[in-house]
């Protein structure tokens, strides 16, 4: 990271009063697809300004849980859930918060980079403001584009081609563009669903650095299959597991150091040491 970027980050925080981050708490969350139960009473606190990693083998409900956190779960036909999810003690499912407001406050980055192909790089960054009709009057668009791209660690690579289509970037750049797009609406919490699984090691490292920088302003929840990544980026860790023919649940959760060095549950030990899964 260059020194000019450091200065920008400091300024960012001064400009962003929202940048304190918010906590997210899930209590007794269960989820179904039709009659099929996929999550069983998951309780997890995701404290402000920390990176929480969700780990576990495929099909154990990590992604479903993540999608419940910003009300994307209900987009699947036949999907239902129970329990409570609260952002700063306000229940996002029952308190009358608009679903669009919930999703704007709790941003999401998907496994597959999905910039809008009909928009340029700059328009992609600003798309969230247009889509949610949430206009920020404090900054002019060009300034906002630059700040978000800087925070996502992409500015230096694309500043000469803000007018090119978003789909023309490389995979790693597209994913960082998606991060910048998610940041432009100033979310308090950012959910990431295996953001690096389609990327090469260099892009992965770049995104991990971005996550570490963002933690200062945003609360991050990340799903990952990569144990080293979970160890590198997260402070808190939850291990999901679905026993045979049973819904997924959290087997163990705790500070990342403890989960990886001295887990209580033998299944956690087996998983993090690579003996199964």
């Amino acid at each position: 990271m260059t020194s000019s970027e450091t200065i920008d980050l400091v300024e960012d925080r001064a400009l962003d009063p929202v940048g304190l981050g918010s906590g997210l708490t899930a209590r007794q969350v269960s989820a179904w697809f039709g009659e099929h139960k996929v999550l069983d009473r998951v309780t997890l606190a995701m404290p402000p300004n920390q990176v929480t990693a969700l780990i576990g083998p495929s099909g154990c409900g990590k992604s479903t849980f993540l999608r419940i956190l910003n009300r994307m779960h209900e987009l699947v036909p036949g999907a239902t859930l129970s329990g409570t999810v609260a952002i700063n003690d306000i229940d996002i499912y029952r308190s009358g918060l608009l679903v669009t407001d919930v999703r704007r406050r709790i941003g999401m980055v998907f496994q597959k980079p999905n910039p809008f192909p009909a928009m340029s790089v700059a328009e992609n960054v600003l798309s969230g403001l247009k889509l949610s009709r949430h206009r920020s009057r404090r900054h002019d668009p060009a300034d906002l584009v630059e700040r978000c791209l800087r925070r996502a660690g992409l500015w230096n690579e694309v500043k000469q081609r803000l007018g090119t289509p978003g789909g023309a970037l490389s995979g790693g750049q597209q994913q960082r563009l998606c991060i910048a797009r998610a940041l432009a609406v100033q979310p308090e919490i950012l959910l990431m669903d295996e953001p690096c699984s389609a990327l090469d090691p260099t892009s992965t490292r770049r995104i991990e650095e971005t996550i570490a920088e963002l933690r200062e302003q945003v609360t991050i929840v990340i799903v990952t299959h990569n144990m080293q990544q979970a160890q590198r980026v997260s402070q808190y860790c939850a291990f999901f597991l679905a026993e045979e023919n049973a819904p997924g649940r959290i087997v163990e959760q705790g500070p990342t150091d403890k989960i990886f060095s001295a887990p209580d549950d033998p299944r956690t030990f087996d998983y993090v040491s690579g003996q199964f899964g």
Binding site: M72, M119, S120
Partner: protein, 382 residues
């Protein structure tokens, strides 16, 4: 072979190939080479000779179609034997399939070429500039074909199709959005009705407007009534094509938009429709192509007119297909020639419309146009 594998490693670690030429020789990796073309031509020629021998010398067979079919069959057999001999049965089967597919594709071009060519040959004679500016009101039974023109039909056709497009495209695209983005229990019956609509004979669409608009609402036959009947015909084509196109928009984009706090409508308007722009344009083109040559509904709703009437809301209006239908039934050669010229102009209009449509919005979603780029640059975003 050995020469290229003898690599020299210099002291500084660079690998050198001896005899390294300054310009690399590229390998032409083409599946279809010159020798294959000669082989095919040889097979075609041999098959032709054999067929000729059988038809003209050995048997009392005759008839052009039979000759052609026998020639083609013998040609395929020859291709199969020759390729099998050279490359084996697997390759022979592959080549045979390729030849059949290619010849069918070429065969489809024949009727198209004949239609365009014949229309051109018959209609070109009377195609003069005045065809675009004059109408048929001063044309007498003995006037030559170069007198008078089809301006009434050209203006009428453009206005009717334009009005029909204005009515059916928004309706069709909104219906497609409903079927694809909202769906639910109503989607199935709606889709069924749209499918059923696409099977409506065009004369029935004309009758429907005649009964439900002209008779029931005490209207006259006008260009607007004709446009209504054309819109009825256009609607299912636009809807079904647009639906297929919208279905191709990746679901990940919708999710991304919703996850940013977008509403369903803003997702459709700012993400789904722009991404599908090229395909939606195809839907419009197919819809226009469906109706621009329609004659039957116009007979009941527009009635036709020998003089130019540019007002679609008042008075009878002419259209090119209607004009062709009217003129081609006269016994005078001049009249028939004028009809062919009208057909030629109709073909030309279709061609021009399609080219314009492609130029306006034919690029893929990943292309950012000049106007938009300029607008972005003014905001400092490009």
């Amino acid at each position: 072979m050995t020469r290229t594998t003898e690599l020299l490693r210099r002291d500084d670690g660079v690998v050198e190939v001896p005899g390294d030429p300054a310009v690399e020789e590229r390998i032409a990796v083409r599946e279809f080479q010159g020798s294959d073309a000669i082989e095919l031509l040889g097979c075609a020629f041999g098959a032709f000779c054999l067929t000729w021998l059988v038809y003209e010398r050995l048997t009392p067979l005759s008839g052009g179609l039979g000759f052609f079919v026998s020639w083609y069959a013998l040609f395929l057999a020859a291709v199969w034997f020759v390729v099998r001999d050279r490359l084996g049965p697997l390759e022979a089967r592959d080549r045979l399939a390729r030849v059949v597919v290619a010849s069918v594709a070429l065969g489809l071009l024949i009727p198209l070429g004949l239609i365009v060519g014949y229309t051109f040959a018959r209609g070109f004679h009377a195609l003069r500039p005045q065809f675009f500016v004059q109408d048929q009101s001063r044309v007498g039974p003995l006037s030559p074909a170069t007198e008078g023109g089809g301006s009434a039909g050209i203006v009428g056709s453009l206005e009717m199709v334009g009005l029909a497009t204005l009515m059916s495209v928004p309706l069709g695209i909104l219906t497609a959005v409903f079927l694809n983005e909202i769906g639910g229990r109503l989607a199935r019956p709606v889709r069924m009705i749209v499918d059923a609509m696409s099977a409506i004979p065009s004369i029935v669409a004309g009758l429907f407007i005649y009964a439900a608009f002209i008779l029931a609402l005490h209207q006259r036959q006008t260009g607007f009534a004709a446009a209504l009947s054309l819109a009825v015909l256009m609607l299912p084509t636009v809807t079904r094509t647009a639906e297929v196109v919208l279905r191709l928009v990746p679901g990940g984009l919708r999710e991304a938009s919703l996850a940013l706090g977008g509403t369903e409508w803003s997702t459709v308007r700012r993400v789904v429709l722009p991404t599908a722009r090229t395909g939606l344009l195809t839907a419009v083109i197919l819809g226009v192509a469906r109706v621009i040559g329609e004659t039957a509904p116009l007979i009941l709703t527009a009635l036709g007119n020998t003089s130019l009437n540019a007002n679609p809301l008042k008075g009878n209006q002419d259209a090119l297909p209607l004009m062709i239908y009217r003129l081609i039934r006269f016994p005078q050669t001049a009249s028939i020639e004028r009809a062919w010229t009208g057909a030629l102009v109709l073909l030309g209009i279709v061609l021009v419309l399609f080219i314009v449509a492609r130029l306006l919005g034919g690029r893929g979603p990943g292309h950012i146009g000049r106007i938009k780029r300029y607008r972005l640059a003014r905001k400092g975003l490009a």
